[in-house]
């Protein structure tokens, strides 16, 4: 590598070894393709290595220590993990994460597919429709969730006011201050936020299915249900898989919605991994435990990455 650089900067010093054709025209990129490829990729590699891979291993290390802010940590083996598993709050966090992810992703998938089917049929004003539908996904979630927070305000919030005026409730629902309703609220907001992404991605998948398939099926006497289950679903499956998997990792790692709406409360009943890790690692300054909690997101990441790569390979083979 060093030799290549020297030759490039003083190309005439070794004229015998170079035919004029090999004279580098600019910087030393042109010894060969391998070298060039490496140089192009190097900045990204340094970034990912230094600020993603290294912090990941650093987190693994921290999670095995009793590190607290301002205090030198001791190696404690897996004690952080065993302590967490025995704690009621963490167990609740695990259950919450699974519930939050399972329910939200299921709703987003089913409703997203429904929306995509409707959007495909809507031929007028498609652009305007798409523009409006995507808005919840475009606006930074921290900011839009502030709006939801106000909507769910128990006293002045419009949700309770409207439900009361409609006569659907006799007393105010304690959104955000009751564990059950708080969970309903954070899941609702996650669905609201993620649905546009599902709908538009599924729509792209639907549009790529050739119209002739449906026409041929109709000639063969297939009904709407048969068309949907025999053509739409199988051909949409790769897109469906990719979007659902991507959403699982993004939903299970969510921070903004729970942090803004409930801060994990009431009484730590709505924590997800990320908010509990923040609470433990920063608010309580127990860095070792905080790092350990964050790492529970990793198995989801690993599983999703593995399955996504399998889908990709299956499709390109």
């Amino acid at each position: 590598m060093g030799r290549g650089r020297a030759e490039a900067t003083v190309p005439v010093s070794e004229p015998g070894r170079w035919s004029p054709r090999h004279l580098p025209r600019t910087l030393p990129l042109w010894r060969g393709q391998e070298m060039a490829g490496l140089l192009f990729v190097l900045p990204a590699a340094l970034l990912v290595g230094g600020l993603v891979a290294y912090p990941f291993f650093y987190a693994l290390g921290l999670s095995l220590t009793s590190k607290q802010a301002g205090v030198v940590g001791q190696f404690v083996g897996l004690r952080n993990f065993t302590d967490l598993m025995q704690g009621e709050i963490f167990r609740r966090t695990v259950r919450n994460s699974l519930l939050f992810t399972g329910v939200a992703v299921a709703f987003k998938t089913v409703l997203g597919l429904g929306l995509a089917l409707l959007l495909r049929r809507a031929s007028v004003g498609r652009r305007a429709l798409r523009g409006m539908i995507l808005l919840p996904w475009v606006v930074p979630s921290t900011l839009s969730v502030l709006g939801w927070w106000w909507l769910f305000d128990p006293l002045n919030g419009v949700v309770n006011l409207a439900l009361g005026k409609l006569g659907l409730i006799s007393e105010r629902i304690p959104w955000l201050s009751d564990p059950f309703w708080a969970m309903v609220a954070v899941i609702t907001v996650n669905i609201w936020r993620g649905l546009p992404f599902f709908a538009i991605s599924f729509l792209a998948g639907l549009v790529s299915i050739p119209e002739e398939l449906y026409e041929a099926a109709q000639i063969d006497g297939a009904g709407k249900v048969a068309c949907f289950s025999r053509i739409t679903v199988p051909l949409l499956r790769p897109v469906l898989g990719v979007i659902v998997l991507y959403s699982i990792i993004m939903t299970v790692s969510d921070f903004n919605i729970v942090y803004v709406l409930t801060r994990g409360g009431p009484m730590n009943s709505t924590h997800l991994f990320a908010t509990f890790a923040y609470e433990m690692g920063l608010a309580s300054a127990d860095i070792g435990k905080g790092a350990a909690i964050s790492l529970f997101i990793f198995p989801f990441l690993a599983a999703v990455a593995y399955l996504q790569l399998r889908i990709t390979r299956g499709a390109t083979r």
């Binding site: 600019t26 042109w30 490829g37 192009f40 990729v41 900045p43 990204a44 990912v48 600020l51 993603v52 912090p55 990941f56 409703l111 409707l118 959007l119 049929r121 809507a122 031929s123 007028v124 652009r127 429709l129 798409r130 409006m132 539908i133 919840p136 475009v138 606006v139 930074p140 979630s141 921290t142 900011l143 502030l146 709006g147 106000w150 305000d153 006293l155 002045n156 006011l161 005026k165 609201w192 649905l195 546009p196 538009i200 991605s201 792209a204 998948g205 790529s208 979007i243 991507y246 921070f255 903004n256 942090y259 803004v260 990320a274 890790a277 923040y278 964050s294 990441l301 996504q308 990709t312």
Partner: protein
Amino acid sequence: MTMVRRRLGSVGAFLGLLPYLGFALFPFYWMLLTSLRRNAEIYDVTNLSFLVQKGATLQHYVFLLTGTQFPAWFWNSLLVSVVATAISVVISTAAAYGLVRLPFRGSSFFSIGIFVTYLVPPTLLFIPLFRVVTALGLSDSRLSLIVTYPTFVVPFCTWLLMSYFATIPKELEECAIVDGATRAQVLLKIVLPVALPGVVTATLFSFTLAWGEFIYALTFIASGTHKTLTAGTVAELIRGDVFHWGPLMAGALLASVPVVIAYGFLMDYYVSGLVAGATKY
């Protein structure tokens, strides 16, 4: 006949979409309404109306812009997002080109690495990154965000641009190389102009991701004047038990304006970027 049926189907689909549109857009409408109402109307629990009835006011916006650090946060967000985006797009463009056109030993391994990194959520690494940032002497500075935002932007943009670069015919570049152009010239003068939609999409997404980022900004930055809009609005505008809903809603809306404007002008790029992940398989 089919024409008529299609029209009817379209109307039916539109009617079916209406309830969803209400669900999707109502929060924004209500935020706008709150930001324009006087306090007496905001806190009137007896009266439910969907219009401003007792006179619209800009007092919440005036308070936000003169009585809080909102303008400073706005500037911080702009600075951090623009610089992080510029850095990220350059790094991603180079990496994507290298991976697609100049394969080297281990480049397929690196492609997979980029893909896996693209799936890494920021919440997985914010604690160790905070310590790295502190060790580098960057804590409580906007530089800490400029340095860390590319970690989640670059993998996404590289992945996105790889799919754009892969569609450009190789022959185009080979002709130029035969004519004596260097790889760098090929990238700048031939590939980039053809892949411009991809680069615009990558830029738009970088900016949106950086502008909306929350947990790093919340964690790395302590002092109010260095905060970005997301962290500032949530952490500084909410004080005590009495919420100032008027300024808070005004702030949330104003802070969203730049990304919504960018999105409004470049919606097609946005959609193509959104579905790139879904359709390239």
